[in-house]
Symmetry: C2
Subunit: 321 residues, 2 copies
């Protein structure tokens, strides 16, 4: 396989990112184009196929070749048929993406959920390198997760594993978009932090935070870094609940590494100090004493790096013909 390369694609609602990688995960070529989801699934698939062809061209003249393509999608893939069952950001339902891409490119294509490939990417080349059992938690508008066990992506019985954001932590807590109350996502996501800030602003709490419509989690983190009391309290509260959520995951999965990704993870020590403290306080010592909790390293590259790694996994279960 020394003359082989792999291609990873990260299909997002806004952009398609892709790269050609060597078998050690080194990035040879990188591309990014807008998704233009409004043009419909076939057009988007055509754009992805075009990117694959361009990336493949970089090695074609050297006598080397591409072993396959992995693709992460923002939704629910059906690995056995190669269909994207549901991808709300793309307005997709039952799109036979693997069939399209195989027809256009002639390459083996492997489909996976985007949170899962990001986890696999961090485990292969990022903050989880060398980890056997790793959990990635991505904190953004919602909370996503991906699980790598024994060095392989774990996706569960029908691909739904790793829904860490919908663990119920406070049964009487805030309403979640999923219909339940007190999911981790309602207590500790970027959205939750903005909600907490607005509630405090409405109560007239003194703060440097703006009452404007476009208040974002990054504003809260910046204000906390500048010493704003309310913002500090919000970060501490988010870290408290996230610590409970991570503690539960540590008790169940006993991972060696937890990688925290997403914009909120850029808060640095401000978030990680209380987060690590709360996580260890909320699990048994035996498991808590060995787990590293670290920020993600690959940023926006994690998706296509992990997607490329799909090609190199033992494919008895994941391979989609």
């Amino acid at each position: 396989m020394n003359d082989k390369f792999v291609i990873g694609i990260d299909l997002g609602g806004t952009n398609i990112k892709g790269a050609l990688l060597d078998l050690d995960g080194g990035i040879i070529e990188k591309r990014e184009i807008p998704t233009l989801a409004n043009a419909g699934p076939e057009a988007v698939a055509g754009r992805i196929a075009g990117m694959i062809t361009e990336l493949e061209a970089a090695v074609r003249d050297t006598g080397k070749s591409v072993a396959g393509v992995g693709i992460g999608v923002p939704g629910q893939p059906e690995r056995s048929t190669g269909e994207v069952i549901f991808a709300p950001n793309l307005y997709w339902r039952n799109v036979p993406l693997v069939k399209y891409l195989r027809r256009y490119t002639g390459l083996p294509v492997f489909l996976e959920n985007d949170a899962n490939v990001a986890a696999l990417g961090e485990q292969w080349r990022g903050a989880g390198q060398g980890s056997a059992n790793m959990v990635m938690v991505t904190i953004g508008t919602g909370i996503g997760g991906g699980i790598v066990l024994d060095g392989r992506l774990y996706t569960g019985s029908n691909g739904a594993a790793g829904e860490l954001g919908h663990a119920v932590i406070e049964p009487a807590g805030p309403q979640c978009s999923c219909g339940r109350r007190g999911c981790l996502e309602t207590l500790t996501s970027a959205t939750a932090m903005v909600r907490m800030a607005r509630e405090a602003l409405d109560r007239g709490v003194k703060t440097e935070l703006s009452k404007e419509e476009n208040l974002e989690a990054r504003d809260i983190i910046m204000a906390a870094q500048a010493g704003d009391r309310l913002a500090l309290d919000i970060v501490e509260k988010a870290a408290y609940y996230l610590g409970i959520g991570l503690g539960n995951i540590i008790n169940i999965l006993n991972p060696d590494t937890i990688v925290i990704g997403g914009g909120v993870s850029r808060a640095g020590e401000l978030l990680f100090e209380p987060l690590c403290r709360n996580a260890r306080a909320n699990c048994l010592d035996c498991a808590g004493s060995i787990v590293r909790i670290v920020p993600a390293q690959l940023g926006n590259d994690a998706g296509f790096v992990g997607a490329a790694k799909l090609v190199l996994q033992d494919n008895t279960k994941k391979c989609i013909i």
Copy 2:
């Protein structure tokens, strides 16, 4: 391997149970003797070795042989050294059990935690037969758990996975023996049910339950089956919290089967109807729609059946020389 057998031992604080099994998990011979833990680790190891020798004798004259011995211990095993690090019911610390048993029997010996082997037993020959991804939750004085993924026991990075009883469900809930508050174990174990009954009795709630010292969870379940309002409320409340705990496990692990073991599981439909309802209400539909939640089938045999199965796992990681 057709002429081979395996031996499984379930070492408990009160009794040692063991059996000789064929490679399909069929029980050929069964033994049970008191542990007599007070006599010390070497004496207990000697009693186990005696049981192994007896069980082995049943095949020795037939030209067949025993491939190995698996043993489940009520505590924390260190698989790499074959020591039992800590087993509070036996008053054991750092007992080199595998070394003892190998010296006495000359057979390969595999060590595991008792909750884990029970899970493996149910997956091999009990309620989880045919399951790829199964979680067993045992509800007794505390709440224990074992996880089987891709048909193999999953024990985590240092053997501490599956501590389902210490998931924090109500951060402001009752004090747990582990030092935290609101662990699943404080809300839904046999102990928790008895505590709820006592609190209600102290408040003077009308019930058939006795105020006597020796009130047990089984009394509450029997009273509930006879229609006692308080007992019914307690079972419903335990099922509510257990449903949240199971919902969280379903969201994380997406198992095809959850097996409920322990005395409380004998409550039947009274427990299982609200339990299944609450579990499915507390996880995402994608994972909730495919999971079966069923009572354990092997009872006290689960431990030695699963212990025997240890011998037949791919032993690259578990083998203890």
